[in-house]
Structures are given as C-alpha cells and as structure tokens.
Subunit: 121 residues, 10 copies
Amino acid sequence: METFENPNPGRDYVIQHIAEEFTSVCPKTGHPDFGTVVLTYVPDKLCVELKDYKLYLHDYRNKGIFFEAVTNKIMDDLCAELQPRWLRIETIWKGRGGIRSVVRIEQAAPDFNGPTPPYFC
Amino acid sequence: METFENPNPGRDYVIQHIAEEFTSVCPKTGHPDFGTVVLTYVPDKLCVELKDYKLYLHDYRNKGIFFEAVTNKIMDDLCAELQPRWLRIETIWKGRGGIRSVVRIEQAAPDFNGPTPPYFC
Amino acid sequence: METFENPNPGRDYVIQHIAEEFTSVCPKTGHPDFGTVVLTYVPDKLCVELKDYKLYLHDYRNKGIFFEAVTNKIMDDLCAELQPRWLRIETIWKGRGGIRSVVRIEQAAPDFNGPTPPYFC
Amino acid sequence: METFENPNPGRDYVIQHIAEEFTSVCPKTGHPDFGTVVLTYVPDKLCVELKDYKLYLHDYRNKGIFFEAVTNKIMDDLCAELQPRWLRIETIWKGRGGIRSVVRIEQAAPDFNGPTPPYFC
Amino acid sequence: METFENPNPGRDYVIQHIAEEFTSVCPKTGHPDFGTVVLTYVPDKLCVELKDYKLYLHDYRNKGIFFEAVTNKIMDDLCAELQPRWLRIETIWKGRGGIRSVVRIEQAAPDFNGPTPPYFC
Amino acid sequence: METFENPNPGRDYVIQHIAEEFTSVCPKTGHPDFGTVVLTYVPDKLCVELKDYKLYLHDYRNKGIFFEAVTNKIMDDLCAELQPRWLRIETIWKGRGGIRSVVRIEQAAPDFNGPTPPYFC
Amino acid sequence: METFENPNPGRDYVIQHIAEEFTSVCPKTGHPDFGTVVLTYVPDKLCVELKDYKLYLHDYRNKGIFFEAVTNKIMDDLCAELQPRWLRIETIWKGRGGIRSVVRIEQAAPDFNGPTPPYFC
Amino acid sequence: METFENPNPGRDYVIQHIAEEFTSVCPKTGHPDFGTVVLTYVPDKLCVELKDYKLYLHDYRNKGIFFEAVTNKIMDDLCAELQPRWLRIETIWKGRGGIRSVVRIEQAAPDFNGPTPPYFC
Amino acid sequence: METFENPNPGRDYVIQHIAEEFTSVCPKTGHPDFGTVVLTYVPDKLCVELKDYKLYLHDYRNKGIFFEAVTNKIMDDLCAELQPRWLRIETIWKGRGGIRSVVRIEQAAPDFNGPTPPYFC
Amino acid sequence: METFENPNPGRDYVIQHIAEEFTSVCPKTGHPDFGTVVLTYVPDKLCVELKDYKLYLHDYRNKGIFFEAVTNKIMDDLCAELQPRWLRIETIWKGRGGIRSVVRIEQAAPDFNGPTPPYFC
C-alpha cells in the first residue's frame, strides 16, 4: 500500500476514509457480502494514499473471509504500513437473513493520549 | 448455540448483531410482539455463530414472554455460552396502545475496563 | 372475518389499513418472512372490522406460503367477504439475500369508475 | 362554524389545512384515538375561518366515534357550511395493535372540472 | 418589480423560485406569520429578476394580510408584471394552534397547453 | 398504578416507555396540549405495568396543568410507586405560537452510581 | 434461470424484486461498479424464482459491461425466459466522479393495456 | 419579561424552549436574518412565562443586530430576569452566501454542578 | 463532446445522469453558483460518453452565466450532439439570499410519443 | 482576512460557520474536489468577519491542493489571524471512486480548559 508523508506531523489530527462499496465473499456459502469500511486514524509520519487504499480494498472482492477476520486483517495491514498514533476500523455489513452486523477495532500507540472521535455508527 | 473461536483474542474489539425481525408472544394477551434485538459484545475466547444465533432467536416466535423477561433471558443465555469480556442486549419494541418500549442490559467481566460503545438507540 | 355496515354507501370513498407487523413462513426453507400488508378499498355495503382483520392476519404466522400466493389469498378472502367496489392488496417484504420484494394486486367491480389512489410504495 | 368571504371567487384555487393534533375516542373500547385531519378544498363563496375550524375539531375530543364515521361527519359539516366547488377530507390515524389506518373522502360540485391536488399521503 | 428578457422565448420551459424565509403579519392578532413562497412559471417575453423579487417579498414583512389574500396578491402582481404563459404560486405556512396551511393558485394564458409540473408539496 | 416484581433485581438495567400520544389541557387558555412522555428508569423491586401506566397517562386528558407541573407530577407519582434506583421523565411538547418546549427531570437513589442513558431528545 | 408457474394467471398483477447489492466491472477502467437492479413485471404464465434470479445477478460480479448494455441484457434475458405481459428493468448506479446514473427500460406484450406502476426512482 | 415561580425549586431540572421562527435584521445590509433560538435552563426561583418570552423575541423583528451580539443580548436579558442555576442560548441561522452559522453561550451559577444536556445541534 | 453508439436503438428507453457537483459563476456578482444538473434522455443513434460529459460540465467552472442561460445552453449543446428522441435538462441551484431556484427544459423529436419520466425534483 | 472585535470577550462561547459550497482542485488529477468546511471556535479578542471569510474560501476555487493540506492551511491561517482560545476545522469531502473522506484538526490555547462541542459529523 502506497503512503505519503504526513504534511503536519507536529499535530494530532484525524483523517477518515469511508468506503461504502466494499465487497468480499462468505467462505461458508460462497455468497457475496457487501459492506462499508470506515478507516479513522491519527497519522504519525505517514498517511495512506487514497487511490492505492481503494485498490487494496478491491483485492477482497473475490476473497472468502469472515466479517471478524477481514476487519482484523485490514487493521493489521494498515497498522503495519502506517505505524499510526491511533487507528480504528469499523465494518458495517448489509443484512443476511434479517440480521445485520458491525465490527469495530481500534488501537493506540502506547504514548498516545489525544481525544478520539465517536464511532462512525 | 454454536460458537467459534475469537480470531483475535489479543485485542478488545466490538462485535454487533442487529436482528430487526424478532417476534415473540405476549403471555397476557396472546398477541404477537415485534421488536429489534441488538447484541453488542467484546469477545473473549468465543464468538457466536451468526446463523445459529438467528435460529436461537427464531425459537421465541411462539413463546409467551414479557419484554423485561426475554431481554434478561437472552442476556443470560449469551453470557453463559460466550463468557464475554463485556456484553449488552437492547430490545426495542414496536408500539402497543400508543406506547413503545426499550429494555437495555449490560454486563462486564470483573477485570474488563475497555471503553464501550454508546447505546444503539 | 367480521364486517360492519358501510356508514355512507352513497359515496365512493377510500379506506386504508396498513399492517406493518405481518409474518408468515417460507414453505421452502421454513424460515420466517416479515412484511407489511396494505389493504386499500372502496367499500360497497360492508367494511372490514379492524380487530377481526388483525386476527385474520395473525393466522398466517405459522403458515408456509409464498409471497405471490399469500397476496392472492388475502385478496380473494377480502373480496369474497366485502364485495367491494374496488380493492387493492400490496405486500412489501423485508429483504432476503440482498433482494426485497413487493407484490401488488387490485380489482374493481365491473361498474366502478371512480379514481383510485396511487400505490402505497 | 364561522366563515368568511372568498377573497377571490373568480378563480379556482386550493386551500389546505393540516391539523396534526386531532383526537377522539373509540366508541368500542373507550380508548383515545389520535390522528391528523387534512382538509383540502376549492372555495366557492365562503372560506372556513381557521380558529373556528380548530375549535370545531376540538369538539371531538371526548366523543366516541369510529374512523369512517368521523371522516364522513367532518365532510358533511364542511360541505353544508361552505358549499365548496370541491372538497376532500383525509384522516390519518396512529397505529392500534400494529395496524394504522387512513380514510379519504372527496366531493365535487356538479359543474366543477378543475384539476385537483394529489392525496396528502 | 424588475424583469429581464426571456433568453429563449422559443421554448416552453419552467422556472421555479423557492423562498423559504417569507414572513408577514396576521391582521387579526398582529402576530408574525412565517412561510415558504414557491413561484413556478413558464415565461413568455419576461423573466423576474431574482434579487428584485426577493426585495418585493421583503415588503410583506410588516404588512397585516391573511394567507389567502397574500397568495392572491403575489399572483396578481407577478401576472401583471410578467404576462407569463403559465404561473403558479404556492404558500406553505408554519403551524398556528396545531394547524398548518397551504394555499395554491395557478393561471394559464388562453393558448397555453404545455404540460405543468406537480405541486411543490 | 399497578406494578409487578422486577424479574431480575440483581442487575442494574434500563427500561424505557415512550408514550407519543399524551394530551392534557392548558389551564390558562383551555386549549389542548399534545406531547410525548418518555419514562426511563432502573428498577429496584418493582416495575410499572404497561397497560396501567397507559391508563394513568389517559387521566390527564381533560386536566388543566402546565408543562413544568405535569412533568414534576408524573415524576413524583412514579417515584412514590416504584421506589426506583434511578428515574427520568422527559416531556416533549408540540409547538404553540412558533415555540416548542421540552422538560426533563431525573432522580437517583442515594446509593445509585450506575451509568445512565443519554437524553431521549 | 429457474421459473415457476404464475399462481394466478387470471389476473394482471405486479411483482417487484429490488436487488440493492448488484456489482459488475467497468470494461474501460476495470474498476467495480455498484448499483441497484429493480425488476418490475406483470407475469403471464411464469414467475422468476427468487433465489435463482439472485444467482443470475451474481454472475455479473466479474463481467466487464457498461451501464446501458447490462440493463438491456438483463431485460432481454428476463423477457426471453418469462414472456411477461409487461416488464421493466431499472438500474440505479452509485456515483463516479460526481455523476450518478440511472437506466430504465420497459416493454409490454402487444395486447397488454393494464396500468403500470410509477418508476422506482 | 414576565416570570412565574418555579413549581419545584427543590430539584435541578431542565426546561427548553425552541423558537424556530426568529427573525432580526442584518445591521450591515439591512436584509432580514432568520434563525432558531434555543433556550435551555435549570431554573432557580423563577421560570420564564412562555407567551411573554415569545413577545420578547418578536421585539427583535426589526432590530439591526449581528448574530454574536443578539445571542449575547438574549443571554444577558434572561440571566438578569431569571437568575437561573444554569442557562444556555443557542442561535442557529439560515445560510447567507453559502455559509450558515451557529452561536452557543452558556453560564452556570457558581455553586451549580448538576449535569447539563448536550448541545441542541 | 464524445458519444458512443446506442447499444439498443430498437427500443425507447431512458438514460439519466445526475451531476451533483456543478458550479459556474454569477455574471452579475462574480460569486460562484453551485447546483445539480440532471440530464434525462431517450437516445436515438447516440449516447453521451459519461467521462466526456463530466469534462464538458467542468468547463463552466469559471464561466459567468445566469441560471436560465446555462440550462438552455446545455440543452442546446446536448441536442445538437445527440439528436435524441427526447431530452430534458433540470438544474437545481443552492439558495442565494434565502431563495433557491430550479430550471427545467425538455424537447421531443417530432415523431416521439413514448412516455416520459416525472421531473427529478 | 478581515476581523471584528469580540463583542463579549469576558465569556467563553462558541461560534460556528458551516460552508457547504467549498471547492478546490486535486493537484494530482486536475479534477475539482467539493466539500464542506466547518469552522468552530471560541474567540478571544477577535471574530472573523463572515463575508470576508467567504471570499477567503473562494480563493481555493482554482488551487491544486490535497485534503489534508488544505485543512491544515485553513487552520493555520485562521489561528494566525484570530489567535482564538480554541479552534477546530473539519473538512468533509464528496466521494471519489466510492470513498468519501473527512479531516478534523483542533487546537487550544495553553490556558484554555472550557468544554468543547462534539464533532460536526
């Protein structure tokens, strides 16, 4: 995943990218899952390049992976790449059989104590 | 109720399942009640399997049970099954006679002190 | 189904009952279906009694029946009972596997030529 | 009901009063019913005075009367008072036992052929 | 009221100006009335200049005038000024004592038979 | 007011009843007031019976009482009856003369320190 | 595509399936397109089986095809399969570069003259 | 401004009046400004009389005064009159030139430490 | 403006492109105007290429042109380019000084008599 | 950027200006970006003049600048000009390629410890 230098590393500030057209495949049924992926983070040295991040999300289009697993995976990949001060992934899934689901994971650098925004939903 | 292993027990993260098609029966009048059941939890070792959870909720379809009791019962069953770090049940009921009701119960493991999400409604 | 006399048979006017808590069972999968049943009609001699109509709809709670069939069945039962000047049934179903459905049926007495209201949805 | 002279009888134009705080009593159960009363009309010689119309609607507060009957009654009273070119009453009722209802009645003077507005709901 | 030449008199087309901040005074109580004035018209030779039309509406700020009268007055003034092929005024008033009102007037030149848009509300 | 035993007194949990069809009378003008009454509480030994609570609210239908007073009165009556761990009443009133109002009162037992839900509105 | 017999061929009635999770691929850029496919039809002898229709739509997941072409293709496939009395396909696409698009096609059997419902959007 | 005695001075509770039809005049351009004035307070000995408060707000109708100044002025007038335990004024203005504005001021008595409601918007 | 061949010229069908990020400049004040441009048409031999149409709209970014004129100009340019069976342009403008505007123009080929969709707004 | 004196420097209060018609240019693609800029601040000695602030935002219309950079730049310019007690900039961008973004930056004077409002979105 391509990154660029944080234009203002002297400040703790919040960047949010809301991808409403995420799709992957249920590994159990083979049926497609549709959802929204919300990335919210406080950058340290690096920011994620938006177009490259989009292509990264496209890569899940035909992967069989569960809701909880894909959320943890995106979390891990972005933390590895960006080394952020604080980062949260929220995945919001369209309903299946009358039940719709949300998964939310966040992580802060040990020395981060800035305020963090409320959940996306 | 079927469960599966938490894919990332090293993290405190939040899973939410919103079942908008819940129905049970009023034990007093015999009339059907309709509502939404929102399960929100921080898993420890186990996650609830979504399809099995759906079938568990279907079992209330013809049971006579009050709003407060069914909420406490779902709470107890899920806590017994999942032994979660933190868990909340919210039931949101369609109106009867011009009054609509909500019941909210939550419980944390003794050593849990992660942040918890706001109420669903 | 209980009926009562149209209080003003000298006029063509429109009565609508919107039942948002309808549920039946899919005969193929055994899973519950949830939907809204909208009855719109121009009464002739008889009107449907609201409480009895509600109980009539409750009778589908554990019946296995397809979307198209249940809509036709409610249509037939009400037309037989009320002999209305004009009547429409619309059933609006919650999504299954990413697809939600609507069925609309209407029927006029041969000599009816009043204006009719637009579809409910 | 007090009236005032149509300030422009040379034109067919439409006046609408939407009363969202109507309440009467169900003659069967004695419980209050709540609804919205929408009056739409093309005046001829007379317009209804708004404050007096409000007081007229207040008079139903403790009357036991069914949905269909009260709609026909308001219709009759206003037509008698105003002798309008065209007039429609729509009553939209809050739900009872999971079903909400609408009643719509309209009437035109024999020689009226102006266009009429769509239903309020 | 200032006007400008219709830039395309060869076509029947529709112009709409929605003024959501109209206020006048109730001549009976002296209290302010608040509403939205929607002007929709098919121009012939002239279009109304937007800024001047705004000032024209401001002139009602301290005038005592009833709902029906002010709607007819704006109608007359615009028709006199613009000589339009077709014109409609709709005034939508904030509630007073639990009742909110709408007045709608339209007028076509004798030889106009273009289609006209639906009511604004 | 009828009550029933809290089915789970070992837990602090929240019950909410939202009555959207409340009406009383303004003691000054004699005109009806319409509003929503939201009761939210953490039960101790007793819960309020829903149908009886509805009838209790109906009793205000023809009483002349101000916004602030009726909110305090419902508060006092429910606290006396239920002896709750925590209780809040919110009344939300339809507009009068362009101003709509809200009154909110809450009270906790001396030893209660559970978290409380956000305001209803 | 699997079909089943129209349970009531004696009536002209309307069936609608709204698939909000459609995705295909832009043949020019290779990027995914997301949209809603609305099928509305009056059946003659056959109805489309819902689950099979869903799988038919899934087949476009990795196909490169333009908005206009995919809408015509679904139209042709369904008409060939169902030989309906009347059928409409509407595709509603998420925005690209600030522009979102809709395509609507409908077709009636030569002898069909029933009324047809308004566009979905 | 007329006041009345707080019916329950023994409690800290919140009263809110939302006036959606406020208008004043921009001192720079002479054009009218439109907005909503939200008064939220915890009364001490006195409550503001609603009708009189409405007339007080009407007095700004033809006054030239800036957003920030009018918010501070209403604040000062109400605090002087009511001597409240806590009070907040929020003014929410309709857009001008593509920008809409909000001003929020609050003030607590020195010994007040009750909880306060969230901002109105 | 680039075009491509209508993939199905044998049918009358409707294509709609909704551009919500249109901006031009007011020739009188030099201030930017913001709006939505809705193009709806029944193609004959040619369809407009979406990306090229976007660039065409971008060309107005710094042009001084009135609401009525820009709508007529886009209409003329598209009709010249596409020679459509039927075409409508609607421009919906953000408010200026409390008034927001809409302009709607449509045109049909002499021999076109297909049905046309309702206005976008 | 023009400023004016804070009319009430003795109080900590909040001013918010929401500019929904912001546009700049993507430096990478040359395509326009559209967004909303929300300025929220607690003034010290100076307030920003609204009309001049609008012109300041217009200056970005043809500048090539990234989301993160423009947000930091507006932040820096306003802090330099106003020397506020507290200030937050939020930029909310329309979607590109299925992803929409938000950037939020805030800064407090060293001795400021007033409460601050929640994020705009």
